[in-house]
């Protein structure tokens, strides 16, 4: 066996970052607070997000230092996500600091005339914690199929240059939109072979964000509609380049979502283990029954695999996501695209399994509103759909590793 291409362990710096995030969440994000918030008018916790984004600097982790960020990599972002998953925290880190930030970073290097200045400006404001962003794309979008949103743009009145446009259309199922100050949307120019990634400030006239009654109340989705809303082009393309930026950002998010799923599954396992040690029936702890022990042992094995797969995906993405087999991942069986697909194919189901076992093995209390188990179940089930289902990632592997489908 060759040496793994990326380290699957945690560095000291990563462990320090984890400790800081965990301490913050222990203090500011107890289950009681999350349970209270999910039925409030502000499902995302602004104060917690501010502390995470500014004080710990999580918002700018992926932003280069010259733009005021930490210049860190996917590996550090993954550790933050593990902790956020463990606490099922209602903050827009994944949607803003990971996915939207990734799209802006890609737009920045796409070299579009006049556009990179907008990307740089937005990245600086994201890194400082001044604004929060969201990529206006369905949370159920997959990196393997066209995003297909019906959004168009037209040239604007041109007061501040060619980047000014007017955007119309709508996107459903957008996560993190309610917490966003800026929406990034991929739109096409009617009648022309041209598309663009456009930044629209949510306070602009014509922007409406309509919350949907969501399965996951800790990361609700919303419908976003643009009615001739003013925006600025971040990246322009004569073909479908803006689409490829969006799909790259989704793939990047999918790879890192695995770490959130890992953290979520770990909480479910440890909470369940603690419960079955204490809960007594038939005059003994229910955790002494082999039927339960074997289920928990199997879950522990799955989570061990999830840790290896999630770390591998984060490491491969940190080494540079290039989108294709063989890219950025020497020694692996086929690049970071494989690492992402493997991580999602495995971790998506592991998180759901862990949350379902958590509910079942808690017995009656596990299906009450007051116990936090349902928060994890709903988050896990929504995460399974997010950025490609495990089945879609497996199907993608067929092409990536040459296991072709029947004719």
């Amino acid at each position: 066996m060759t040496t793994p291409p990326v380290s699957l362990l945690y560095t000291e710096v990563e462990e320090e970052l984890r400790a800081a995030v965990r301490a913050l969440l222990a203090d500011a994000c107890p289950h009681a607070a999350v349970l209270a918030r999910i039925e409030s008018a502000t499902p995302y916790d602004g104060d917690l997000w501010k502390a995470l984004a500014r004080d710990i600097g999580a918002a700018g982790l992926l932003v280069p230092e010259e733009l005021g960020g930490a210049g860190a990599s996917a590996r550090e972002a993954a550790v933050v996500l593990e902790e956020l998953g463990r606490a099922v925290a209602p903050v827009p880190f994944l949607t803003s600091a990971v996915v939207a930030t990734r799209a802006l970073l890609a737009a920045r290097t796409a070299g579009v005339a006049g556009g990179s200045g907008v990307a740089d400006e937005l990245l600086e404001r994201l890194a400082s914690g001044e604004i929060t962003a969201a990529l206006a794309v369905s949370f159920a979008a997959s990196p393997y199929r066209p995003v297909g949103a019906e959004v168009t743009y037209e040239p604007g009145t041109g007061e501040t240059g060619a980047c000014d446009v007017v955007v119309s259309g709508r996107v459903t199922g957008v996560a993190g939109a309610e917490a966003a100050d800026v929406l990034l949307v991929s739109a096409s120019l009617p009648g022309r072979e041209e598309s663009a990634l456009i930044a629209v400030e949510t306070r602009e006239q014509g922007v409406a964000i309509t919350p949907m009654t969501s399965l996951d109340l800790t990361r609700p989705v919303a419908m976003v509609s643009f009615g001739s809303a003013r925006g600025r082009i971040v990246a322009r393309s004569e073909s479908t380049r803006s689409e490829s930026i969006v799909r790259d950002a989704i793939a990047f998010g999918a790879g890192l979502l695995a770490s959130e799923q890992l953290g979520l599954a770990e909480w479910c396992l440890s909470a369940t283990v603690e419960y079955v040690k204490e809960r007594k029936q038939f005059a003994r702890p229910v955790g002494s029954f082999q039927a339960l022990k074997h289920r928990l042992a199997d879950l522990w094995l799955e989570i061990g695999g999830a840790r290896a797969a999630a770390r591998n995906a984060a490491g491969a993405l940190a080494a540079g996501y290039l989108g294709g087999p063989g890219a950025g991942c020497p020694g692996g069986p086929g690049g970071s695209a494989v690492a992402v697909a493997v991580a999602q194919a495995h971790c998506g189901d592991v998180a759901v399994h862990a949350a379902e076992e958590c509910v079942q093995l808690h017995g009656g209390i596990g299906i009450t509103w007051e116990h936090p188990a349902h928060l994890y179940l709903k988050r896990a089930k929504a995460d399974q759909i997010a950025f490609g289902t495990p089945g879609e990632h497996r199907t993608a592997l067929a092409g990536l590793v040459d296991v072709p489908a029947p004719a």
Binding site: M1, P4, L9, V273, G304, R307, P404
Partner: protein, 384 residues
């Protein structure tokens, strides 16, 4: 330093100009057999992961045929190192490593499988000797073995875990009878071993009288690491994928979905193993090791089952049912039908998957043990 040593050794010992065994003995004496063992016992007292450096420097030179002496290397050697006297280490380790002396394991009995501590083979002291009577089973390599590691009951009056003692058994001693035990694959990798009035000198005892359970635990832990840590977890998935690619007429949508699932499982297990090795290399072994054998057994069984099904009509035939006694244990050799049947043993040998789940649940997750009826009762009074 290890690399230089390996190069210097190779410069001084040309394998093409030497007898194979002389080369291996010289390699042992140079401390390049297992670098993490102490000096003078085939090692250099170096970190274990440096062994890969030695192996890459000595690639292509005669090896000790590890497939033939796996029990000696994986189980007997670490136990002798951990619990043997200096004389025992000097006597046994060198010929064990060179493969001159094959070892087998006399643990399981017809009445003591998962509950190994209930074993009934008796060892009774007679002056400076022990007289051993009993029956052992599932003994791989017994027909080739010069020595065995043996656990026997020396005190039936105390609870079962406390009355055991660990020995090295001379397989050439009078009273040792080895009979092949044919498996579902058609061949006989393992044997039944009958011990009738076998006399062993006390110098063959490993560890203190009555301490056999503790010594055996060390052996079993090493066994699981050896089985679960075996490289080549991807071998079987690669084999199935080769068939899939070269025989498009066999493909169905159902098999495709299942194969992709198993491809992911195999990759996740490979990564888990890679992470475990990284932890070991930096001296922070994780508990994941106890799970590797369990995952490996399940993956092998599902993959080999899928492979036979994929083959369709070819899956109806079997390569060879001839009753043979193979020299080596090979999980992936031969054809799909053999792999399918051999893999059934993976969740039984070296601790059943059910026992391993108990171990994970109790030792890793800290869940309470089942209430037990046999803990404080003298072995002789247990229902059997």
């Amino acid at each position: 330093m290890v690399r230089e040593r390996a190069r210097a050794f190779l410069a001084a010992n040309d394998p093409s100009a030497m007898d194979r065994l002389d080369f291996l003995r010289a390699r042992f004496d140079a401390g390049l057999a297992w670098v993490h063992f102490p000096e003078g016992l085939g090692g250099l007292g170096a970190p274990r992961d440096l062994q890969t450096t030695v192996e890459s420097e000595l690639r292509g030179t005669p090896d000790n045929r590890p497939g033939r002496i796996g029990i000696g290397l994986g189980m007997a050697a670490p136990t002798i190192l951990g619990f043997g006297t200096e004389e025992q280490k000097e006597r046994f380790l060198r010929p064990l490593w060179t493969g001159e002396e094959v070892w087998c394991q006399l643990f399981s009995e017809p009445g003591a499988g998962s509950d190994l501590a209930t074993l009934a083979t008796r060892a009774v002291r007679d002056g400076g000797e022990w007289i051993v009577d009993g029956q052992k089973v599932w003994t791989s390599s017994a027909h080739n073995a010069r020595w065995a590691i043996l656990v026997a009951r020396t005190d039936p009056e105390v609870p079962k875990h406390r009355g055991l003692t660990y020995f090295v058994c001379d397989m050439e001693a009078p009273g040792v009878e080895v009979r092949p035990l044919r498996q579902i694959t058609g061949e006989a990798e393992f044997n039944e071993v009958f011990l009738t009035g076998v006399r062993l000198p006390d110098s063959l005892r490993l560890g203190a009288v009555g301490d056999g359970w503790r010594v055996a635990q060390a052996t079993l832990m090493n066994e699981r690491v050896a089985i679960g840590g075996a490289s080549g977890h991807r071998t079987m998935i690669d084999t199935v994928c080769e068939t899939w690619r070269s025989r498009p007429e066999l493909r169905t949508h159902d098999l495709h979905q299942r194969l992709l699932r198993l491809w992911v499982d195999a990759e996740v297990l490979r990564l888990t193993g890679a992470r475990l090795r990284e932890q070991l290399a930096v001296g922070r072994p994780g508990p994941e090791g106890s799970g590797m054998k369990l995952s490996f057994a399940r993956l092998h069984q599902e993959l080999s089952g899928l492979e036979v099904e994929l083959l369709g009509e070819d899956g109806l035939s079997y390569d060879d049912w001839t009753f043979r006694r193979p020299e080596t244990v090979d999980f992936v050799g031969r054809e799909a039908g053999y792999r399918y049947l051999r893999a059934k043993g993976n969740s039984i040998e070296g601790g059943t998957s059910e026992i391993l789940r108990n171990i994970i649940a109790e030792r890793v997750l800290g869940l309470p043990a089942e209430p037990r009826a046999d803990k404080d009762i003298p072995w002789k009074d247990l229902p059997r």
